[in-house]
Symmetry: C2
Subunit: 212 residues, 2 copies
């Protein structure tokens, strides 16, 4: 079949739901994460995010893009109020419950209960983790960068806690996420598992790559 | 085996390469994209990026995180000077060439030639696309958002051209990236293919999900 070729103006003219599905696919696969918080009043919140982005390793910083008018708004309110949140990888076994967290629940209802997920706590850390998640990050808000172009926010946090089973961590720090079962999302609603093709050595000009 | 649990201070104390591998894995899988530019002097540049993030669908906006002191610096210089760049999905067949683009080539050398990749052009668009890529975006710089916390930049572009084979696009706009062969990266160097598990319906409270 032929290539589809849409220009900017043609994309703007597409039917709304078609455009939303299409444009949410074009950046490529995205990590599937559950972001969990607890309000000052004590209500827990958990919501699926596919907008995690690596910001830096030293110090360890992770970013998330938030749309304040979306179902994620309780998560953002809780992060602003309490400064703490968790990022939890979604495993293949959790995809249905994880997707259900994207429903528009009332503010005083915990998505943990509504979606059949279980909270897990560590000492002296306000936000709940998601039990059964293969890799869990305890985050502290470090900066909120406004994206004025469309009213979104890049929320950046410091990794205060990193919890992962040691069986997935190699001697050089690499974490085998395929083995851990971490999933990826395409678009708004398609969940995928992964299979490792290759790990390559650090690339240098005029030097052939080696498989690690 | 037991869980590893690292705190922020423990992460700061880790050996540098171990920390870099570890922290680059914690956000989960990332899309593998080749970002291509052409300098005002006419030299092409192509570099692999795993920091693409969806910013919005209306208008269609995509973001990329740049570290200006890294090997990506020629790409950023060209984007600033010409305003145009392309984002090209990496397929399974291209992972070795794509990884080789991360080598530190001199500014006047084209990574296309050095790495065995081929340029492809469309009319009236300055930047080259990567031949054979399953999904190609022609981008125009829209905003540059500084992340003052660690000196990185969120570069946001408008999707001026979207090119993908129509056999991968569903009636509702969803693009089957697993079928298209788009890859994901874990950490700095591990390439993976994907396999679809499920597509779920739009989630609503008290309504069971359906598989699409």
């Amino acid at each position: 079949m032929d290539d589809l070729h849409y220009t900017f103006n043609e994309i703007l003219g597409l039917e709304k739901f078609y455009r939303r599905n299409l444009i949410n696919c074009v950046s490529g696969f995205k990590s599937a994460n559950l972001v969990a918080t607890k309000s000052l009043a004590g209500t827990c919140n958990v919501a699926i995010f596919s907008s995690a982005v690596h910001i830096g390793a030293d110090p360890p910083l992770q970013g998330l893009i938030f749309r304040p008018d979306s179902v994620d708004r309780h998560t953002l309110e809780n992060i602003r109020a309490t400064k703490f949140y968790t990022i939890n990888h979604v495993s293949s076994a959790m995809i249905e419950k994880a997707h259900q967290t994207s429903a528009r629940y009332p503010k005083n209802q915990s998505e943990f209960e509504a979606c059949g997920l279980k909270e897990q706590y560590i000492e002296n850390f306000h936000a709940p983790f998601v039990q059964g998640s293969p890799l869990k990050l305890g985050m502290e808000l470090a900066d909120e960068v406004p994206v004025t172009l469309n009213g979104t926010y890049l929320i950046i946090g410091k990794v205060q806690h990193l919890i992962v089973n040691e069986s997935f961590v190699s001697q050089d720090g690499f974490i085998d996420l395929a083995k851990a079962g971490s999933c990826v999302v395409s678009g708004l609603d398609a969940y995928h598992s992964t299979q490792k093709l290759a790990r390559f050595s650090y690339a240098k000009p005029e030097k052939p790559l080696e498989q690690l």
